[in-house]
């Protein structure tokens, strides 16, 4: 693990991209395939299933360090990273382990899953005491997941490409799916033989840039195809050799979450890849994204749930047909082929196409966008008719033009320290609005402030703490912020009765006194009408992850 730990330190010690890549390249060049496999696994932010609970780790760290759990939590509060806290508090003994990364994972970590609590404890505690600080940190990261080393995935792929000489796109393609983190799996990833690279893997998703309306003059509207921007889960539906797979943009295989789509795809021809959006779809229209969320992350999808929240796959691009990669073919021609294969929307259809939005001027496009809310979409997509299906994001081909987000003014009431780069600064905020004379918390938001503003707010919080509950500080209500969010829905899990989608801080309203913050009443007026008329039903479906 020494070499891996050295890599970690090298990456950690520089802010220069080139140096990070160089460190990665020399690691991939030098490491044994079995170790490189695990390094790659963690660097691409894959996680092992967690063999122990946070509570157990806290208890054991307390015993190993001799400090009470409350003191550990105080330390964690300042460090902002539990793995690092343990690395700092537990000290090594005289005997130091020197195992390669692969052995560390395969013999010390993977077997934990099938062990009883006391064996887990003794292995973990012994290992802590036989590792140096950085190795201890890495060991903890591997156990607890959330492995972020300060290096973006694209850099890892770039370094790997440089090291093995295989094209970056092919590597990202290979890395997308499930691969075995062992010597053989790694050899396959870096193999220069690219003949049978397809399998069940999706293509890298092509992404859109935000549209800048002030620059519309430099684009010819007739060269662009206008579509709705669907409010769902961007996915690729793949059918090869009789097998159907659904991949989300987060590179997750989500086939099992949507049995009805799997069934609907049975009649599709082989050697097909569709790009599109999974949406909650009922009575010929899209349902709010919150509904779709409740279909996610479930072990079993029951018939009742499928009936309550039916889904559909709206497809708008064809990437592969009869096994041929169409990505370099022009968009218009891809769509023409798509329409020959997939029918337009009709009653009962699960997989369908939708017509383009006709627009002869940018003014027309803007009108469509204004109507987005009526069609329950997020806005419009603007795609160059001649565009190929690229990799990542390329300026000039695909744009998204979303509807302006909703905004409210809310008061900062609770704060918590951030993680990673922002550990030890108060950056996680809870905001409240007026309900009569009382401030009720409505949303949590983390992002949106500049570093300078963060420091200012942090200093305010530290001086104006009125109480504490664990890591959360209650703050004197004084600061007002404008929050932007994408949607709002009824929620019985929130004290305020509403939950926001993607709340973020849009402005620090230093000009506003707290009396001018919004009221719950004005916020409820933003709720979509059907949500108000069906609160009971919404409440029964309290399955969402906390939207706050």
């Amino acid at each position: 693990m020494k070499r891996f730990s050295q890599l970690f330190s090298e990456i950690d010690r520089t802010n220069r991209t080139n140096e990070k890549v160089a460190a990665l390249v020399s690691y991939f060049n030098e490491a044994e395939a079995a170790d490189a496999a695990w390094a790659l696994y963690f660097l691409t932010e894959k996680r092992l299933s967690r063999p122990v609970t946070g509570r157990q780790l806290l208890q054991w760290a307390s015993e190993a360090s001799g400090f009470d759990p409350w003191l550990l939590e105080e330390c964690y509060d300042r460090v902002g990273d539990f793995a690092e806290t343990v690395a700092l508090l537990v000290s090594e003994g005289d005997k130091i382990l020197d195992e390669p990364l692969s052995r560390m994972v395969e013999e010390y970590i993977l077997p934990l899953t099938d062990m009883g609590e006391s064996s887990k404890r003794s292995i973990i505690v012994d290992t802590w005491m036989q590792l140096r600080k950085t190795e201890r940190l890495l060991f903890m990261k591997m156990i607890t997941g959330g492995f972020r080393m300060g290096v973006a995935r694209t850099l890892v792929v770039r370094a790997l490409a440089e090291s093995c000489g295989v094209d970056k796109a092919i590597l990202s393609h290979r890395l997308m799916g499930a691969w075995q983190p062992d010597a053989e799996g790694f050899q396959r990833i870096v193999s220069t033989n690219t003949s049978d690279d397809l399998g069940a893997l999706p293509y890298p998703f092509y992404l859109a840039y935000p549209w800048e309306p002030e620059k519309e003059e430099s684009f010819d509207v007739s060269e662009y195809r206008i579509e709705w921007k669907w409010d769902g889960i961007r996915s690729q539906l793949i059918k090869r050799e009789g097998e159907v797979a659904l991949w989300s943009r987060g590179e997750e295989l989500i086939t099992d979450q949507f049995p009805e789509l799997l069934l609907a795809a049975a009649s599709l021809p082989n050697g097909l890849v569709l790009d599109g959006e999974i949406v909650a779809w009922s009575g010929g229209e899209v349902m709010p994204f919150g509904e779709l969320q409740s279909r996610l992350g479930r072990k079993r999808v029951g018939a009742a749930l499928m009936q309550a929240i039916p889904v559909a796959f709206v497809t708008y691009d064809l990437l592969e047909v009869e096994g041929d990669d169409l990505r370099t073919v022009e968009l218009d021609r891809r769509i023409k082929k798509l329409s020959e294969l997939i029918p337009p929307q009709q009653l009962g259809a699960r997989i369908f196409t939708v017509p383009e939005l006709k627009a002869s001027s940018w003014g027309n496009v803007s009108k469509w966008r204004e109507k987005a809310a009526d069609f329950k979409t997020e806005g419009v997509m603007i795609k160059r008719r001649s565009s190929a299906y690229g990799v990542g994001r390329k300026k000039g081909d695909w744009f998204k033009w979303k509807v302006d987000p909703f905004t409210i003014d809310a008061v900062l009431v609770y704060a918590q320290q951030g993680h990673g780069r922002r550990a030890s600064l108060y950056t996680d905020y809870t905001f409240a609005v007026w309900d009569g004379k009382e401030l009720v918390p409505v949303a949590k938001a983390y992002s949106g402030l500049t570093d300078k503003e963060i420091r200012k707010v942090d200093a305010f919080i530290k001086k104006n703490t009125t109480g504490r509950k664990g890591p959360v500080r209650m703050v004197k209500p004084e600061l007002v912020f404008e929050l932007a969010f994408e949607g709002i829905r009824v929620s019985s899990r929130h004290r305020s009765g509403v939950a926001f989608r993607f709340p973020r801080i849009s402005r620090f309203r230093t000009d506003k006194p707290i009396e001018e913050a919004d009221t719950l009443e004005t916020i409820c007026a933003l709720l979509p009408p059907q949500a108000i008329s069906q609160p009971t039903r919404m409440n029964q479906l309290e399955l969402f992850p906390d939207a706050g």
């Binding site: 950690d12 010690r13 520089t14 802010n15 360090s65 400090f67 009470d68 409350w70 003191l71 105080e74 330390c75 300042r78 460090v79 902002g80 990273d81 690092e84 806290t85 700092l88 508090l89 000290s91 300060g150 993680h419 990673g420 780069r421 922002r422 550990a423 030890s424 600064l425 420091r455 942090d458 200093a459």
Partner: protein, 340 residues
């Protein structure tokens, strides 16, 4: 009766009618050390350790009325015996021992027990009541041997020289900067310092502290040595056009806060060297015990945590809410600017 009490102006000894490190103007101020949260201008009369007189004048003004006394010498103030004892924080930094009617109190000021050739070594003073700082009063803070750190600084410096980069080390202008100069090997290359560091150097020289030769970074010297020198400067210069003259640079910070990765990464630093002029957790606990104090006051830093811990260990401990800052990352900049 409490020998030292907290007033709105600062820590006060009623029996002797004097203040220790007050934050508002008073008649008589005993000053532990010349950092700006402890030494403020505007006092009618100052009393401090003899070797700290020069740096205190730098902080509160050349015309301030400052009396210096040797460490260990007792001064009587209204029937109270006052003496100063080395705190090991920086040149002339002291703990204040106050004795009245057989009762002994010690106020630690800022202190460290680690060896530091740039200042007088910490002296343990036995007492009935010990008021200690707690800037790094969490068990995550455990300092490594500083000699190991100096070797790491030198390795970093050499590696930068190979790449033609200036090694920029951010450090407190008073104390930390000089400690680094007393620790690193000047054979590695030229050392330049920022003006706010430079102004304290003559006082260290006068006190006979063995610092490496360092020169004030004039435009000519910058041109001559950039790319291979070590520059010691306060962190407030980060992002200034002045610092741009040294480009290309590698940026590092010498501070106890560098223990936590997030603190370093947030400031976009390449390296963080864990070098602190305050006590770490183990030394804090050891020192408290060794003073033999039956009552322990805890101030600036993690006072709440330390007090709770001490109580759980069966000690009598209490929080003293002062306005001292210890070594705060956020306030570093403003303080260093004040020092300019």
């Amino acid at each position: 009766m409490a020998l030292l009490t907290l007033t709105t102006k600062g820590l006060y000894c009623e029996a002797g009618d004097f203040f220790i490190d007050p934050w508002e103007s008073v008649e008589r101020a005993v000053i532990t050390h010349a950092h700006s949260d402890h030494a403020r201008p505007g006092m009618k009369a100052y009393l401090t350790a003899m070797s700290g007189k020069g740096v205190l004048h730098e902080r509160v003004g050349a015309t301030a009325k400052i009396e210096g006394i040797p460490f260990g010498q007792t001064v009587e103030m209204g029937g109270v015996k006052v003496s100063l004892h080395p705190a090991g924080h920086l040149l002339g930094s002291s703990q204040v021992r106050v004795e009245h009617k057989g009762e002994i109190w010690v106020f630690s000021g800022d202190y460290k027990t680690q060896p530091d050739p740039s200042c007088e070594a910490f002296e343990l003073v036995r007492c009935n009541t010990f008021i200690t700082e707690s800037t790094f009063g969490l068990p995550i803070y455990q300092w490594d041997d500083s000699r190991v750190l100096y070797r790491e600084v030198e390795d970093w410096w050499r590696a930068n020289q190979v790449l033609g980069r200036t090694s920029v080390l951010f450090a407190y202008a008073l104390g930390k900067a000089q400690r680094v100069l007393a620790g690193v090997d000047p054979e590695v290359g030229p050392i330049l310092v920022h003006g706010s560091v430079n102004r304290f150097l003559p006082h260290y020289e006068a006190a006979g502290m063995p610092l490496a030769k360092a020169e004030y970074a004039t435009p000519e010297l910058i041109k001559q040595h950039k790319g291979r020198c070590l520059l010691i400067a306060p962190s407030s210069v980060q992002g200034t056009t002045w610092l741009k003259r040294f480009q290309p640079c590698s940026l590092a910070f010498a501070s106890g806060w560098m223990t936590v990765r997030g603190n370093r990464r947030r400031q976009a630093l390449d390296r963080g060297f864990v070098l602190s002029d305050h006590v770490d957790w183990p030394s804090l606990m050891e020192t408290i015990k060794a003073t033999g104090a039956e009552s322990i006051g805890v101030t600036h830093g993690y006072a709440d945590v330390v007090v709770r811990y001490l109580k759980e260990q069966g000690n009598e401990a209490w929080v003293l809410k002062t306005e001292f800052e210890g070594e705060s990352i956020q306030e570093v900049d403003s303080r260093e600017e004040n020092a300019e």
